[in-house]
């Protein structure tokens, strides 16, 4: 990790995200390995001497203290003088949008306000490492989106190196500078957020981070920088990492927003399909299409009016070779049920 970075660790539940974060905070002892902060091995340093601060999913506000007392908790332990503490608390509560809340009790606050206090309580200490444990998971969707923006601007203002864990792909994409995808304690992929989104290294990462259409196929050859894959629905070109042996079993993946529909079929990567159903989501619509051999794909259409896509309507679908990825690996972990990991059981 680099200084000042917003680092997101993402994985399904049970993947070891929280365990990893608690190890960094010193609340759990790793069985093996080292934790190094600023060049110093802190593996055996107790949590209160680490200069890291953890923000909890369930807020963990001290219920017997006021908001002010909660926020000044860490500063008081640092034995700072009263005036400094008071002005720091006031400033931080102002930044977080809770000016004047000092004397409220946690039970009088809404979920979003509680989480703001929890953030302020850690922020005020200006730790070397700010650790977020799914802080927005208990908030409703709209508030999550708003808090994402706020956390991002707080990160820009304070410049604190942050680790943020989540199983929510939207938060991972919108907040993270860099992203680590983990699964059952194994790192699936690490990289810049957009790099991982556009260039997943295996099917697990591709499907976990956003939606993607996957077709099974076999390698039919290499054409310049692209790999040709023979699928049930035709033979298509896509980007492929590494070497591919002829006839090897591979997965041909395209993001739904990269598909295009139109009447004039281009030279490459096109197939005819029928509309199965349409799900309107306001700004966009998800259109489920079925190819000739009944493989279904999802297409995202923007700015549509109801009735644009009629059921059973025949369409021509095409996409650019550089927008498709050819993957040979399902996951770094053997024998997993991806659907179960992504959607829960």
């Amino acid at each position: 990790m680099e200084k000042g970075e917003f680092y997101v660790i993402m994985g399904p539940s049970g993947s070891g995200k929280t365990t990893l974060l608690k190890c960094i905070a010193g609340l759990l002892m790793p069985e093996a390995g080292k934790i190094v902060l600023d060049g110093v091995d802190i593996t055996d340093v107790p949590p209160h001497k680490r200069n890291t601060s953890l923000i909890f999913q369930d807020y963990a506000l001290f219920p017997h203290m006021t908001v002010g007392e909660n926020v000044e908790f860490g500063l008081k332990l640092k034995k700072l003088d009263k005036d400094t503490i008071k002005s720091e608390v006031k400033h931080t509560l102002g930044v977080i949008g809770l000016a004047g809340f000092e004397d409220r009790m946690p039970r009088e606050l809404s979920g979003g306000e509680k989480q703001r206090v929890a953030v302020a309580r850690s922020l005020v200490l200006k730790p070397k490492l700010l650790l977020y444990d799914e802080p927005l998971a208990n908030l409703d969707y709209r508030l999550q989106r708003k808090m994402e923006e706020e956390l991002k601007s707080i990160h820009e203002e304070f410049g604190l190196t942050s680790v943020y864990i989540t199983h929510n792909q939207e938060q991972a994409l919108s907040l993270g500078d860099r992203l680590m995808v983990i699964n059952k304690g194994v790192i699936e992929q690490v990289g810049n957020t957009d790099e991982i989104y556009l260039g997943p290294e295996n099917v697990f990462t591709a499907r976990f981070l956003g939606e993607i259409n996957v077709l099974n196929g076999k390698v039919a050859g290499k054409e310049g920088e692209f790999v040709r894959v023979a699928t049930e629905e035709g033979s298509f070109l896509g980007r492929g990492h590494g070497t591919f042996e002829a006839n090897a079993q591979v997965f041909y993946c395209v993001r739904p927003e990269k598909l295009r529909v139109g009447t004039a079929p281009p030279r490459e990567n096109s197939a005819s399909a029928k509309v199965v159903t349409t799900i309107y989501r306001g700004t966009e619509a998800e259109v489920i299409l079925a190819f000739n051999h009944e493989n279904r794909v999802k297409y995202i259409a923007y700015d549509v009016t109801p009735g644009t896509f009629k059921e059973h309507e025949a369409l021509n679908v095409h996409w650019r070779p550089e927008d498709a990825v050819v993957l040979s690996e399902v996951s770094k972990v053997k024998d997993i049920d991806i659907d179960k990991l992504i959607y829960g059981s």
Binding site: G26, L27, P47, L54, F56, A60, F62, R121
Partner: protein, 281 residues
């Protein structure tokens, strides 16, 4: 509809209200009235007097009042010191709920025995020829038996055994209700494990300690058989009430009882003002 629901609430409560009324409120009111009546050879005469309350000022009774509350207070402190670590261990160190239940059950086993049997059993343990003295002499720590019975310490030991569970259980409940993330949060904000305990766990378990204290206080102040059996020569208010009632001086016994009730209620008032008992429920 609201009225209907209110009415049904009262209907549900009515057996308890009737029971409390007949067996608690009415006797209590009678007790207060009785304390202002004049003693007579056959019990009391319904003639108003301050005499009973004036008698409370006699040195012998002042002494009894002081002894009663000192003994009860000491018992509260001793049970608290022993019960807290047990409750803490049970709540945080014993992880499996099965084991927790098993240990709680083991702690309740002595209470399956009758009070008298359980209490009298202390004689062969604390007596001159008892278990402890035999052990002390065998170890050569003392040449002649030590007198362990019939003093204030003996009373406290017996009370401790009888009431420690009533202190432990509410503390255990209070500790079990504390969100474990809170201690982690305190640690992560720079508190050592001791500071985290002092600033988070201890204040949040206060309601449990208060409820335990109330149980032990009320039980010990009124427990005169134990004082009679183990504190030969020690006079407490409970014992004095029993003696006065036996001697048919009911009005004075009533005045002593009113005094105890007032002191205990006063203590409750102070405690409840400073501790939020709702945290426990």
């Amino acid at each position: 509809m609201a009225i209907g629901r209110k009415l049904s609430n009262y209907l549900l409560l009515s057996p308890a209200i009737v029971l409390l009324g007949i067996f608690l409120i009415i006797p209590l009111l009678f007790d207060i009235a009785l304390s202002f009546w004049t003693p007579s050879l056959t019990g009391y005469l319904q003639i108003f007097t301050w005499q009973n309350y004036q008698s409370l000022g006699l040195p012998a009774y002042q002494q009894a009042i002081a002894t009663t509350f000192t003994l009860s207070f000491e018992t509260v402190v001793v049970t608290l010191i022993f019960a807290y670590p047990i409750a803490y261990t049970l709540a945080y160190k014993v992880r499996s709920p099965r084991k927790q239940t098993l240990i709680l059950f083991a702690l309740v086993v002595p209470f399956l025995m009758d009070y008298t049997t359980r209490t009298i059993s202390w004689y062969p343990i604390l007596g001159l020829n008892g278990l402890i003295n035999a052990l002390l002499m065998d170890l050569g720590l003392t040449s002649s038996p030590v007198n362990l019975l019939f003093n204030q310490s003996a009373v406290i030991v017996v009370w401790f055994q009888a009431y420690v569970l009533f202190m432990m259980t509410p503390i255990f409940l209070a500790l079990s209700k504390i969100n474990p993330s809170l201690v982690d949060a305190a640690r992560s904000l720079g508190a050592s494990s001791w500071t985290a305990f002092r600033k988070v766990t201890l204040p949040l378990s206060a309601p449990g300690m208060v409820v335990g204290t109330i149980y032990v206080l009320v039980s010990t102040v009124s427990d005169f058989p134990t004082v009679r059996l183990f504190g030969r020569g020690i006079q407490t208010v409970g014992l004095a009430i029993a003696q006065q009632a036996d001697g048919l001086n009911w009005p004075f016994a009533a005045a002593l009882a009113v005094l105890v009730i007032v002191v205990i209620l006063g203590a409750f008032y102070v405690i409840i003002r400073y501790v939020d008992l709702q945290q426990l429920f």
